[in-house]
């Protein structure tokens, strides 16, 4: 997750492979969306019933087209990050999901060809800055679409709230908040959604 970006340009991990058009509702079902993460974790991506119980911190998701299509609910990428998923590499993304992931500094990379080139359980290595993905089993290397400088700046800052906190601290918002106001944004595992 976010720490992987700041601490080094490489994310390496075991792959959980998913299909096409996997929607936000199965990542964050509405019926449990308001509950604390520990109560909703068992409901994340039940289209693979073993996923939530067996995913390990540092694992990656490889998916097909249109990963995260659907709702604006931010718990979709948030749930994955809280489960410890280090990054998602997909053929393409639903646009709101993709923006939400950037806002949360959760690495998601579009990489056409990745779905055919990857099997469940493979180990892959993702270089975030270049969006290069190497399959350590097959040796295949694919080039995805790197974040633009603007997106990377948000991810490297630790997310959009952190960008905002820095603006407040620098007195850039002119809203009367004293310089230094606000507290550092807690890491994802301390976050708790109210919905």
């Amino acid at each position: 997750m976010a720490a992987a970006v700041g601490s080094g340009p490489v994310v390496r991990g075991r792959v959980w492979k998913f299909g096409h058009d996997v929607d936000t509702d199965v990542m964050a079902p509405w019926g449990v969306i308001a509950r604390p993460f520990e109560e909703r974790r068992a409901h994340v991506l039940r289209i693979r019933p073993e996923f939530a119980a067996e995913v390990a911190p540092g694992d990656l998701i490889v998916a097909g087209r249109n990963w995260g299509c659907g709702s604006s609910r931010e718990q979709a990428p948030e749930n994955l990050a809280l489960l410890g998923v280090a990054a998602v590499v997909a053929e393409s993304f639903g646009r709101i999901y993709f923006r939400n992931a950037i806002a949360q500094a959760f690495p998601n990379v579009a990489c056409p060809g990745i779905w055919e080139a990857t099997d469940d359980g493979d180990e892959v290595e993702l270089h975030l800055a270049t969006a290069t993905v190497r399959n350590l089993r097959t040796g295949a290397e694919l080039s995805g679409r790197p974040y633009t400088a603007e997106m990377l700046a948000i991810v490297e800052a630790g997310g959009l709230l952190e960008v905002l906190r820095r603006k407040v601290a620098a007195g850039e918002l002119g809203d009367g908040s004293p310089p230094g106001a606000g507290t550092p944004v807690p890491p994802p595992d301390a976050r708790r959604s109210t919905r």
């Binding site: 058009d21 929607d23 509702d25 199965v26 079902p29 509405w30 019926g31 308001a34 039940r46 289209i47 087209r65 249109n66 299509c69 659907g70 709702s71 604006s72 609910r73 931010e74 393409s92 993304f93 639903g94 646009r95 709101i96 923006r99 939400n100 806002a103 949360q104 633009t148 603007e150 997310g159 959009l160 709230l161 960008v163 905002l164 906190r165 603006k167 407040v168 918002l173 809203d175 009367g176 908040s177 106001a181 606000g182 507290t183 944004v185 959604s193 109210t194 919905r195």
Partner: protein, 418 residues
């Protein structure tokens, strides 16, 4: 059109697809997600919003509150409106997109950002509406601005004649079925052609709304005399036309000819899993739902009432009608639609999002099947993960409610709203 909106709101003379801009939103819409924005604003230390006069709050997803926790959230939202001096609180007037449209808030050429993926609906009036998440809304509440990559535009030509039994929903389902639910991924849609020009604002709202199910950032109709007449009736006179500039560049153009189009249905569990109604006729249903920001306007209730007048809802079926807004409900009462629906056996619920996202007012149990006028039929969307949701037009919903199974609505209705 998207380029014109993003050029104006980013203070540039012109922008082209692919460029990055920081754009100032004209209208911000928050539903109950405001409470999460409030927590983030407090955590970051924001005491004032950049433009409280541009912020509109509508409580629709959990109204009337199904749980005490939801009621508490509403209390918090009202307190945040007070605390931050948010100037436009619409309470529980209905579904956010319907309320902001029917109250004349949204105007052609605006950039409208909302904490709801179906904020594309505002494109019906020629406004660039896009859904964003909570963290991005917090940022734009605080700064007034947000980053955008200027999208390429997919031009959709709607041609042909409006055949019997057809509604706007059939057209947008057909586009997703034929071209995929990522046909406009990261792109803007512009709807053009004779069928678009002839379409009512209600129909345009349905098609712009489900731009979200085509992957679109914005889903725009040019603002024309239909738009001007609609807004003039809502206290916004003298609306100027807004459309593409001469020589506008499109990423590609797709055409939908409606002449021989059958009513369409999306099968479980994806809005792009589309079939003609004849291919699924005979599929039994337990619930029929007429609701949501997609299809619960006066025009939709009118079609359902026309089909149900003098008929009865099938004894196996629950027909739930959730008007898009209190104004729609009142108009439908005065037009006699509510009486016709209730006489046929329909249940009318409080307006709001209701059962559509699986919140309350009519969820599905295991093994149940629903025909729904809504926008998404994802696995588990309206309740149980072992339930099935089919998507169709209000005519398809009403006809299925009568028959107890999916049938061609043209067996009961030969009209058309196209």
């Amino acid at each position: 059109m998207a380029e014109q909106v993003l050029a104006r709101t980013s203070g540039r003379a012109a922008v082209v697809a692919g460029e990055f801009v920081t754009a100032a939103a004209d209208v911000l819409m928050c539903h109950e997600a405001l409470t999460m924005c409030g927590s983030q604003l407090r955590r970051v230390g924001i005491s004032r919003l950049a433009h409280p006069e541009r912020v509109h709050v509508v409580l629709d997803h959990f109204f009337p509150a199904p749980t005490a926790a939801n009621a508490k959230d509403h209390t918090r939202a009202r307190a945040l409106v007070e605390q931050y001096g948010i100037e436009h609180f619409h309470g529980h007037a209905g579904i956010c997109h319907q309320v902001l449209t029917e109250r004349g808030v949204v105007r052609p050429g605006q950039l409208v950002l909302g904490t709801d993926s179906h904020s594309t609906t505002y494109g019906a009036l020629g406004a660039a509406g896009a859904g964003i998440g909570v963290t991005e809304m917090t940022y734009v509440l605080a700064t007034g601005e947000l980053w955008f990559q200027v999208p390429p535009t997919v031009r959709v030509e709607l041609t042909g004649t409006g055949g019997p039994g057809l509604m706007a929903k059939d057209l947008v389902l057909a586009i997703g079925g034929r071209h995929g639910t990522d046909v406009a991924q990261y792109a803007a849609i512009e709807y053009h052609g004779p069928r678009a020009a002839a379409m009512s604002i209600a129909g345009r709202m349905t098609m712009a709304n489900m731009g979200a199910e085509l992957g679109a950032k914005f889903a725009l109709f040019p603002a024309d005399d239909v738009t001007a007449a609609y807004l003039a009736g809502r206290g916004v006179p003298d609306v100027a036309p807004f459309g593409p500039q001469p020589g506008a560049v499109y990423d590609r153009t797709i055409t939908l000819d409606t002449t021989d189009l059958e009513p369409q249905v999306a099968r479980p569990h994806n809005p792009g899993n589309v079939a003609a109604i004849s291919a699924v006729a005979g599929t039994a249903v337990h619930q029929a739902f007429l609701g949501s920001c997609t299809n619960a306007r006066l025009e939709d209730l009118a079609v359902a009432a026309e089909i149900l007048r003098g008929r009865r809802v099938h004894p196996r079926v629950r027909l739930l009608v959730t008007p898009a807004s209190q104004q729609v409900f009142l108009d439908a009462v005065q037009a006699g639609h509510v009486a016709a629906l209730a006489e046929a056996g329909a249940h009318i619920t409080a307006s709001g999002c209701g059962a559509c996202p699986g919140g309350h007012q009519g969820l599905l149990g295991p093994g149940e099947r629903c025909i729904s006028s809504t926008n998404r039929n994802f696995l588990g969307r309206m309740g149980s993960q072992e339930a099935e949701v089919y998507l169709g037009s209000p005519a398809v919903v009403a006809a299925a409610a009568v028959a107890g199974e999916l049938i061609d609505p043209r067996e009961l209705w030969t009209g058309s709203t196209l």
